[in-house]
Amino acid sequence: MTPGTLISILLLLVPGIASIFYFRNIRMATVAAAALDEILSVLLFWIMPPQGFFFVDRTTDVFIFMITSIYLLSSIYSLRYISDRNATGLKQPTYYLLLNLFAVSMLFSAQINNYGLMWVGIEATTISSALLIMTEKSEESLEATWRYIIIVSAGVTFAFISIILIYYSFGTLTVSTILSAGRTNTLFVRVAVSIALIGFGTKVGVFPVHTWLPDAHSEAPSPVSAMFSGVLLPTALYVLYRIFQIDPITSLFIWFGTISIVAASLFLGYQARYKRMFAYSTMENMNLALIGIATMNPLGIVGALYLLISHSFSKAGAFYSSGSVLRSTGTKDVANVKGIAKKMPITSAALLMSSLGVSGTPPFGTFFGEILILYSMVLVNAVPEFIIVVIFLVFAFVGINLNVSRMIFGSPGDNSEPGRLMPAVSLVASIVPLAIGAFFMVVNNAIL
C-alpha cells in the first residue's frame, strides 16, 4: 500500500473512528477527527494515491481540502450551537455521529474511482444529512427534511440512468479508464451526460430541480447549512464534472447554468428571510462554477475552483454568523433584525465580510474566480450568456448586500454576542476568502 492510498483510506476512517466515542465525549472526538482529516487533506496535495481504488488529482485535492475545512469549522461551531436545549429532534451524540458520516460520504464520493460508487456516495450524503436538518424539530424543519429526502432522492435516482448508459457504452464504470480513453461522442454518452445534468443537478441546485435547496438550508441548524452550502453542493458538482468530462456538452451546461443564475438572482431579490437569501446565493455561485467547468477552458476550470473554495468559506461564515444572529434575536426575518453592529461587532464584521465574499466583491477569492469564469465564457463565444450572467450577478450583489446592510446598520437593538466561540468561528471562515484573494494576486504577480 502506498502512502497516498493510506492517506485516502485514513481520510475515510478517521471520522468513523470518532463515531466509536458515541457514548463518551463524541463532541471532542469529532473535532479531533476533523482536525486530523484537515491535516491529511493538506498532506494529500504532496502525497497522492496512485490510480486504482481511488482517483485523486489536483482538482480532487481542492475539493477534499474544502470538505475537511468546513467539516472542522462546523464541528467546532457545533460545540456551542448544538445543545441539549435546542437539539430536540436528535440527541447530541446522534447529531455528531451523522455529521461524521456526512463528511465520510462526501470524502468517499470525491475520491472513489468508479461512477457507480460515486452515485452510491452521493445517495449516502442524503441518508447521512437528512436527519441533521430536523435537529431542532420544528414543523418547518420536518417538512424541509421530507422535501430534501424525496426531491433529491427522486432526482439522483434519475442520474442512475446515466450510470447505466455509461456502463452500456464503455463496459466499465472506472473513472480513470473511461477518461483516459479520450473524448467519446456517441448518442448514448451524450444522453448519459445530459441526464446527469438533471439528476446530479438536483443536488447541485440547477434550475428547475433546485426546490429542496432553500428549504433545507433555511431550516437546518447553521453548522449543517454551512456544510450543505459550502461542501455538499460542490461535491455533487464534482461528480457532475467527472461525468461531463466524458463528453463535454458545453452549450447545454452553460445555458442551464445561465438560466439557473437568472432564477436564483430573481428569487434572491425578494427573500424576506436571511438564511433563504444565502441559500439562493449558493445556487447562484454553484451555477457560475458549473459554467466555468462547462467552458472546458483551463481558465474557466481554475476560476471555478477559486470560486468554489472561496465560496465554501464565505458561505460557511455567512451561515455561522446567521446562526449567531438567530440565537441572539430569535428571528429569521431580515426586517426584524436591525442595528446589530454596536452590540454584536464580531458577528457583524463576519456577516458583512461573508456577504461581500459570496457576492464576489474584490479582493475576495470569489471575485477572481468570477472574473476568470466570465473571461472564459467570452473565450468560448458564449457572449449572450455572458451578458445575461453579468446583469444578474449585479442584481444578486445588490440584493444580498442591501439586506445585510439593513441588518447590520441602523439604530442599535438590545442584542448581544452569543458567547465567544461562535462569532470567532464566523470571523475565521469569513477572513479565509480574503487570504485566497491575496494568494491569487501574489501568484499572478509572480507569473507576470
Binding site: N114, G116, L117, W119, V120, E123, A124, T126, I127, A130, L131, M134, K137, E139, E140, L142, E143, A144, T145, W146, R147, I149, I150, S153, A154, T157, F160, I161, I163, I164, Y167, Y168, L173, L187, F188, V191, P214, D215, S218, E219, F267, Y270, Q271, A272, R273, R276
Partner: protein
C-alpha cells in the same frame, strides 16, 4: 409458451401492479402492491439468470426479494400507526389522477424511448428493445406517484417504484456490477429507514408560509 412471451407477461404484470398502486387510496394496499411488484421483478431476474446462466442476476434477484420484497415491506407496515390519515389518503381524486398519469407517462416514455432507448440492444432480447418500455413506464409511474400525492407513505412507495424501474432497466439492458447494485439496494433501504422516521412525525405535506419563495 416461449421465453419472449414469459418476459412480456412478467413485464406487463409489473406494469399492472404499478397502475394498481396508482389507483389506491388505502396505504396498506399500496405497500402490498409494492411487494407484488418487487417479487415480480425478482422473478424476471431469476428467469434471465437461468437463461443467461448468470450468477450476478441470480444474486440480484435474491437481493430484490430480500431487501425490497421483505425488508422494505416489513418496515413500512410496522411503522404505520393506526391513525386514519396513515391508513387512508383523503382528498385524492383517483380517476382524474389516472387520466393525468396516463397522459404524462405516455408522452414522457414516448419521447425518451423514441430518442434513445429504441436504439439500445438489451441482453434479454437482442434486436428487440421494446422490453425497455416497461422499466421506463415504471420509472415515470413512480415519479408521478411522488408528485401527485401528499401522504408520506405514498411518496415512499413512489420512490421505491421509481427505483424498481431502474432495477428492471438494468436487468433487461445490462446488469451493472453486482457490488454496485448491492450498494444501491442498501442505499435505498437506508433511505427508506430514514424516511420512516419522518412518517411518525408528519403524515401529509402541505404548503407552509415559512417555506415559500
Amino acid at each position: 409458451m416461449n421465453y419472449d412471451s414469459i418476459v412480456y407477461l412478467i413485464s406487463a404484470s409489473i406494469l399492472v401492479s404499478a397502475f394498481y398502486i396508482q389507483g389506491q387510496r388505502y396505504i396498506m394496499s399500496m405497500i402490498r402492491g409494492q411487494l407484488v411488484q418487487s417479487v415480480l421483478i425478482a422473478v424476471a431476474s431469476f428467469l434471465l439468470a437461468y437463461l443467461e446462466s448468470s450468477t450476478d442476476l441470480l444474486i440480484l434477484g435474491l437481493l430484490i426479494l430480500i431487501l425490497r420484497g421483505v425488508l422494505i415491506t416489513y418496515m413500512l407496515e410496522t411503522r404505520m400507526p393506526s391513525r386514519k390519515s396513515y391508513v387512508f389518503e383523503e382528498g385524492v381524486n383517483v380517476p382524474y389522477l389516472f387520466l393525468v398519469d396516463l397522459v404524462f407517462i405516455v408522452i414522457a416514455v414516448f419521447i425518451i424511448y423514441s430518442i434513445i432507448f429504441s436504439s439500445l440492444v438489451p441482453i434479454s432480447q437482442p434486436g428487440n428493445s421494446s422490453t425497455l418500455l416497461f422499466p421506463l413506464l415504471l420509472f415515470f409511474q413512480g415519479l408521478f406517484l411522488i408528485t401527485s400525492r401528499r401522504s408520506t407513505f405514498t411518496q415512499i412507495v413512489g420512490y421505491v417504484e421509481e427505483e424498481n424501474g431502474l432495477v428492471l432497466l438494468a436487468i433487461f439492458l445490462l446488469p451493472v456490477p453486482i457490488i454496485i447494485e448491492a450498494s444501491v439496494f442498501l442505499d435505498v433501504l437506508a433511505l427508506v429507514v430514514i424516511s420512516s422516521v419522518i412518517t411518525v412525525e408528519k403524515a401529509t405535506h402541505e404548503r407552509m408560509e415559512e417555506l415559500r419563495g
